[in-house]
């Protein structure tokens, strides 16, 4: 990134400045008064500093990211705290969106400001690209500069939670009656325990209740079923890849809600990775790291409707 600042929409201020100085020069030239020249010089100095000063301020400005979340989701604001040496307008560049002012607003004001930036795409980010701008001190001319700021820690932008793939959820239920049914009490009974708020009434153990004198529910062991293996192959087109990742995340989330073990197979920059995911955050990170598979892209068309083999 260049440290050089560039003017933003410079035609109007420069034209106005030239017009003012031109009129001033005419008056001075015709009137010949030293006061006119002295004031004209002050006006020139003010315009000079007002138009070129922001470039110096911007070149000398220091801005860095103080804190940022580790995980976030595309399309959802992520609060990133900036510390700036002077008042700056920051405009996030791709993959982020958002604009705000950061930096001190007074002598005693802390120079840190949290700005809600919205990542538009999934991915793994170590830097944030910003257009910083200022018109200090006189708001006569805005200058901008593009900066690349390192994040304190790697930011995983998970894809949006897309609609889960209904084909796999209905694979063993083709009657249509249980489309939205989620099995939450699967497993073998292990014992009974006192009822706790939130327990399903279907798990109430009436015999134990009668025996214990208080409401008891069955304790179930998790099913020892084989984990569900999901292989996500992302196409080359970034937008299509995001859509596939969103559907994959939705599907994984549904599986996790069912209590299933999920093995996620993706292709990352370091190579193919197959590992279980324990929760939505883990799945989001995995999908954030996933990259398109060029060799498998030929098969992607065949599985384009689901994204899974």
């Amino acid at each position: 990134m260049s440290r050089l600042a560039r003017p933003s929409r410079n035609a109007a201020p420069v034209a106005v400045a030239i017009a003012v100085l031109g009129i001033w020069w005419l008056v001075a030239h015709n009137g010949g008064s030293g006061w006119v020249q002295a004031m004209g010089d002050v006006v020139f100095g003010t315009l000079f500093i007002g138009i070129l000063g922001p470039a110096v301020v911007l070149t000398c400005a220091k801005i860095n990211i103080v804190s940022a979340p580790v995980d976030c989701t595309a399309g959802t604001p992520a609060d990133i705290s900036f510390a700036a040496s002077t008042r700056l307008r920051v405009c996030a560049r791709t993959p982020f969106e958002g604009e705000a002012f950061v930096g001190p607003v007074g002598r005693r004001q802390a120079p840190e400001h949290a700005v809600a930036l919205v990542p538009q795409r999934r991915g793994v980010l170590d830097f944030v690209t910003l257009d910083i701008a200022t018109a200090s001190p006189f708001a006569l001319q805005w200058w901008t500069r593009r900066v690349l700021l390192p994040l304190p820690s790697t930011l995983y932008v998970a894809p949006r939670g897309g609609r889960p793939d209904s084909f796999h959820l209905r694979a063993h239920d083709d009657t249509g009656a249980a489309i939205d049914w989620v099995q939450t009490d699967a497993g073998q009974p292990r014992g009974a325990r006192p009822y706790q708020p939130g327990d399903s009434r279907r798990r109430v153990h009436w015999s134990a209740t009668a025996h214990a004198g208080e409401l008891m529910v069955r304790e179930l062991e998790r099913p020892s079923a084989e984990p569900v293996t999901l292989t996500v192959v992302l196409p080359q087109d970034p937008q299509e890849a995001d859509r596939v990742a969103e559907r994959a995340l939705g599907t994984i989330t549904r599986f996790l809600e069912r209590g299933s073990n999920v093995l996620l197979a993706t292709l990352e920059a370091s190579g193919p990775v197959t590992a279980s995911v324990a929760d939505r955050r883990g799945a989001g990170r995995r999908l954030a790291r996933a990259v398109a598979n060029a060799s498998a892209n030929a098969n992607a068309n065949a599985n384009a409707d689901t994204g899974y083999p």
């Binding site: 009137g31 008064s33 006061w35 004031m39 002050v42 020139f44 003010t46």
Partner: protein, 683 residues
């Protein structure tokens, strides 16, 4: 279509401007500009007060209608602006109007535009226009300013303008404010840039005749037509030749009286006689003399004619001059009553003068029919020829003086054998008149001394003999007369001229300050083809054209030397101590919790209930809530997170901290209504 779109885009109203500070700064800027115009007499005091009141009213109206400015206001403002513009064009283009009086209508135009525009300034861009228009008004006022008093208006206007620009940045950046140190750096940079331009660029020069002034002062009429007046401080009292016991006039050089007694200099003092704005420094000629009687100069054989016409007067070309040469426009502002001579740079060709007639002599002397008292202004255009030394050395003999003039310019009352011998000896190796003049001037520079502290010459003594063959100490009249007589003795046509030297140049006002003791006498020598050329033997070093930078540095140095060291040093020391103390007090940054506590304590002190040493912040906050009587418990709500932060280490997010500090500030300022509005925003 793109142009149409651009115009539409440019006319699209900007977002409403909510900053009261910015509006206040703009109001004071406009007020300073209008007051500056009033001080220059371009608008009456009543009109200025009315305009300022209307601008204040308009600013208030604009503030309250900033969100939804009424459509009719824009129409009325546009119609008024168009109307006053039409009036301006009519005023400056009417046949009866003087083209020199364009500035008063221009002032009225700008003031009117500022007044009507103040009723429609909903956005920041509109306020910016007000600032720019006030700059135009200041330029018009500055064009009339001839003294340093105007500097107060300039400082006030510049300060308000910078304040407005800083508020503009605060508004544009959502509260960004410059720290005092940075503000100081910015202002210093602005001043440095302005000073650099001031020093580098040449001073503006009057290049058009739009602004040539002519105004009668408090001189009054003169009883004897064509006579010289200005004695004893009265511009209408006829002048008398100077005598050793005679009065010394204000600016009263004894030579401005029809004859020049070279035995006397008089005590002229340093009263400012007049201020001159000119394109270049010149000797301001008042009178020329051609007849020397051994003691005094007088003017004879010069035909005086009365010019009767409307100003400007077109003057006949002086003898030996031609129309070619550089134009030199000068405006003379009479500061104290002086002789009724119309001073001018050599070879005046046009005169703007507040009378219906003037008296003009072929020897380049112009006499006013009215006394020139304080406040009188007149302008002169001269055609100045500045031939080089080479041109003067090779000046041909194709243009000869009229016989009578040549005789008078070589006239001597008696033979000066010793003078002639001395002159011939000095100019023995010279083959042309220019070299002879230069040799004689060089000799006088090496062998004579200047002093005004000499006794008057005895009655009947020949000034030249006394000077050249006495102690060779004298003043300018004696030095120049000696040169003139030496030149005449070797056949070089010469005459004596009196007037003023340019005086010190003030780079701020762009005026030459001519004082009484700047009265001077010098020599004019005839050169065929170039006419009368001035030579000053008193100033052997030729007069240099003062660069604005050099003049400004000299001016600053002179001003610095006049600063009283003790009081200024004491004030500076006090300021430094106070600034150091304040800096020390404020150097420790306050946390957000401390700022809230500070706001609470300040609000309590204002309400007459300071915080007791044994009182917790929560207790004090509850007391404050009871004191305000709002019952909202706002201070208690703020006290909880403050104490949680101070004693529990629970810090809210930065944005929440900022909101709480802002809320405390509003509570401190007593803006409960704002507070309620923020808590319950209207959807």
């Amino acid at each position: 279509m793109r142009t149409l779109e651009a115009i539409k885009r440019a006319n699209r109203p900007g977002p409403p401007e909510h900053s009261i500070r910015l509006r206040a700064a703009c109001f004071f800027t406009v007020t300073a500009a209008i007051a500056a115009c009033a001080s220059m007499g371009e608008v009456s005091d009543a009109a200025a007060f009315g305009a300022i009141g209307l601008v204040a009213l308009g600013m208030v109206f604009s503030y309250f209608t900033r969100r939804h400015p009424p459509g009719w206001v824009k129409i009325v403002v546009a119609a008024a602006a168009i109307g006053v513009s039409v009036w301006f064009v009519h005023a400056v283009s009417a046949p009866a109007a003087d083209v020199t009086s364009v500035e008063d209508p221009l002032t009225v135009l700008l003031v009117s535009v500022l007044v009507v525009h103040s009723f429609h300034v909903p956005s920041r861009r509109d306020l910016m226009f007000s600032l720019a228009a006030s700059a135009g008004l200041m330029a018009v006022a500055g064009a009339q300013a001839i003294d340093l008093i105007f500097g107060f208006y300039v400082v006030a206007w510049a300060g308000c303008t910078v304040w407005g620009l800083i508020e503009m940045w605060a508004s544009a950046s959502d509260g960004g404010r410059l720290a005092p140190t940075r503000l100081g750096i910015v202002l210093a940079t602005v001043i440095a840039a302005a000073a650099a331009i001031f020093l580098v660029l040449p001073a503006p020069q009057v290049a058009a005749k739009l602004n040539l002034l002519a105004r009668a002062g408090d001189g009054g009429s003169i009883g004897v037509p064509g006579a010289l007046a200005g004695d004893a401080g009265s511009p209408s009292q006829l002048s008398r030749p100077g005598t050793p016991g005679g009065p010394t006039r204000v600016g009263g050089y004894l030579g401005f009286a029809g004859s020049l007694n070279t035995a006397l200099r008089g005590n002229l003092g340093d009263t400012v006689v007049m201020l001159v704005r000119a394109q270049r420094p010149s000797y301001w000629v008042g009178e020329t003399f051609n007849t020397w009687n051994g003691e005094s100069w007088s003017a004879t054989d010069s035909a005086t004619q009365t010019l009767r016409q409307q100003s400007p007067f077109v003057l006949p070309l002086p003898l030996g001059s031609n129309a070619s040469g550089q134009t030199d426009l000068q405006t003379f502002y009479v500061a104290n009553s002086t002789a009724n001579l119309v001073f001018h740079a050599q070879s005046a060709t046009e005169l703007w003068f507040p009378s219906s007639k003037i008296y003009y002599s072929t020897d380049d002397t112009i006499v006013s029919p009215i006394g020139l008292g304080k406040g009188a202004i007149y302008s002169v255009e001269s055609t100045v020829r500045t031939p080089t030394a080479g041109q003067l050395r090779t000046a041909g003999s194709d243009e000869q003086l009229p016989a009578a003039v040549e005789a008078s310019s070589l006239q001597l009352p008696h033979a000066y054998p010793r003078v002639a011998a001395l002159a011939e000896k000095i100019t023995a190796g010279d083959t042309n008149n220019y070299d002879k003049v230069e040799s004689l001037i060089a000799w006088m520079g090496a062998h004579t001394h200047y002093s005004t502290d000499i006794p008057p010459l005895p009655a009947g003594a020949d000034t030249v003999d006394e000077f050249l063959f006495g102690n060779r100490v004298g003043f300018c009249e004696q030095i120049s007369t000696s040169l003139a007589v030496m030149l005449r003795s070797i056949g070089v046509p010469t005459r004596e001229a009196v007037g003023y030297v340019p005086g010190p140049y003030d780079p701020i006002t762009d005026l030459y300050q001519v004082r009484a003791n700047d009265a001077h006498a010098w020599v004019q020598v005839w050169f065929p083809g170039f006419g009368w050329q001035s030579f000053d033997p008193t100033a052997v070093v030729p007069l240099a054209n003062p660069a604005p930078g050099t003049a400004a540095l000299a001016y600053i140095g002179h001003a610095l030397r006049r600063i009283p060291i003790v009081p200024v040093g004491g004030a500076l020391l006090t300021f430094v101590v106070a600034a150091t103390f304040l800096h020390w007090r404020r150097s420790r940054p306050l946390t957000w919790a401390e700022r809230i506590a500070w706001s609470a304590e300040r609000a309590g002190r204002r309400a007459g209930r300071p915080r007791r040493p044994d009182e917790t912040f929560s207790e004090y906050a509850a007391t404050l809530d009871d004191l305000t009587g709002s019952g909202s418990g706002a201070w208690r709500e703020l006290a909880e997170p403050v104490e949680a932060s101070a004693y529990g280490g629970h810090h809210p997010p930065p944005e929440a901290q900022r909101q709480m500090v802002r809320r405390a500030r509003r509570l401190r300022a007593g803006r409960q209504r704002d507070e309620d509005r923020d808590l319950h925003p209207v959807a």
